[in-house]
Amino acid sequence: MVVSSSSAVKQRVALVVPSGGAVDDLLTSILDSESWVIQRAVDNEHALALAATEPFDLIITGRKTLGQDDVELLRKIRSTRAHVRLIILTDKFTPGDVIAAMREGAFSYFSAPFDVSELTAMVHAAMDAPCWDDGIEVLSATPEWVRLAARCDMATAYRLVQFLHGVKDPSIPETDREAVITAFKEILLNAMEHGGHFDPRQYVEVSFVRMRRAVVCRVKDPGEGFSLEELRHAALSSPPGDPFSHLAVRESQGLRPGGFGLLLAKNLVDELIYSERGNDVLLVKYVGPNASQVA
């Protein structure tokens, strides 16, 4: 059987709603570099009309529209194009918009101000990712308590962390937000690697709880668990003043240099509490005017 080159190579097409300025230039540069065709819509209404006639491989919204309007666009497009990859860029948003975007199956969410290098990396991820849209499932969500399941793979972890960056809860100081996200990422990756063995058939369960004076993240992995006392290969076990001592243990076990994630997470939040089995962990960060006294 002979397959012609024209039928074997499908030109991939992205639909972009203009953001203006450097963001448009950046997106054009990324998509051009991978030989994607770019189609532009003047606004969300136009984007919806175009998406009704063509199955775009990627859609990127413009940052000038409201986050909730972009979520509505996503919901309408996914009612007919269930697997569309859509990245939301927005200057105007609420934390609730981010949760709605996850629930409706957005690929990612960037709320201003955002890091251009992060956007570049996420667009590349969207262009490359196979079978992406069952990676994050929102199990339940209120403004105070979000519970979700995340597939055990790096791409899903990366997407979930970017959603967290998008929340930007104004009542939490930026340094505290960054600390919680960094700690969460370390624990999430540990859970996916050691509990889920990066097996995409496995899921970790994640909860985010916003209390009046604290932010709590819970990560439960599908593994057998472990005992902190047994972690001689982790930096957490190295005595003060000798941060390299666990490396010898790792080397003897044939492990790459590493084991720093737990210690980093422990230092970034106020409390890191493991369950008896060790496959369920709470990260607690106190926030608000008296946070340091509570901690």
């Binding site: 003043g241 941060p243 490396l247 980093l264």
Partner: protein
Amino acid sequence: MGLQILVREFGDVSILDLRGKSTIDDGESEMLDSHLRKLVDKGVRKLLLNLADLNRIDSSGISIIVGTCASLRRKSGELKLLCPRGRVLEVLTVFRLLEVIPSFDNETQALASFEPRGYFAAS
């Protein structure tokens, strides 16, 4: 890619100017690891990591720095740090790495601190 690496040489010291982030997200730490391994495999034994423009690091980046430092020490080499700032400095402090890896705020002083076999020995 969120990490740019510029390699300069000063006598027998290789200076790596790091700009961006060294995290696991998009393979940045892997890229740093690859650069450092190539240099060590080529015989470089004196490394200075310029962190002035590195704005984020996670445990993967720390692992690369510590792993390279330990590897060089086994080969009688040295790894030193230059100008860690902001969040990167905070993370290095968490791990108390600045107590075991020499760090400098001034490039001239950092270069002078290496065993004098290169430029400073000749001048």
